[in-house]
Assembly symmetry: C2
DNA sequence: AAACTACTTGGCGGATTCGCCAAATAGTTT
DNA sequence: AAACTATTTGGCGAATCCGCCAAGTAGTTT
């Protein structure tokens, strides 16, 4: 395996890893509908604010979200467009798994 | 957050987590081109056979691949169709991240 | 059945993840 | 500046992940 391939795979794995958590998925889904401040996301997730903040830091490090401070609050938004389609596909995967189990 | 939403998110997170490793991504990409036995995948990945086998077990537990013994060898194949489109989207995410960094 | 090939499983050490608490930082209000 | 709100950071313990080695299992060949 050449270096270029490895880099491509590592990059993709990094994005997937950042998304691979229920709370982070929920936050990304909410951000698809528009920017949200941390406290709004915290209420949706229902965890400690520090936990939510760290999840957001993971998404930010992966380049999936961006943040902007406005007064006391910090607002997060998605940095890329195709997340919806992406999730639809993950959904399809799950459907085929379920079908397989029924047989 | 209701139980149904949580289940949906946990399911999706499980699939993403199973895919979130360079070696597993490589194997899935190879399996898109047709079934492969473990030793073929091992050669591509370049790790210990036991490591490869465990990665395949992760993919199998997530419902992404299925296996079938034929003689001495065990062949793995994808169980679902949309992985290509899926990966294209992960690729797009990476492109937008790179664009963001250049600015 | 003994030797051989292909694969899986057990287990260990090191690294990473996760959620909470406590403490630090940043901006606003009084 | 003191008090207050919103958020981030540090750190701890529990859990999980990762890769290797060793040992076990399954089918094939001799």
């Amino acid at each position: 395996m050449d270096a270029k391939t490895r880099q491509r795979l590592e990059g993709r794995a990094r994005v997937l890893k950042a998304l691979a958590h229920p709370s982070r998925l929920l936050m990304v889904e909410q951000l698809e509908r528009g920017e949200r401040c941390v406290c709004e996301l915290q209420e949706m997730v229902g965890a400690d604010m520090s936990t939510v903040s760290k999840h957001l830091a993971v998404l930010k490090r992966a380049g999936i979200v961006a943040d902007e401070r406005r007064g006391v609050q910090v607002y997060y938004r998605l940095t890329m467009p195709c997340v919806t389609r992406f999730f639809d596909c993950v959904g399809e995967v799950l459907v085929s798994i379920k079908k397989g189990k029924k047989r």
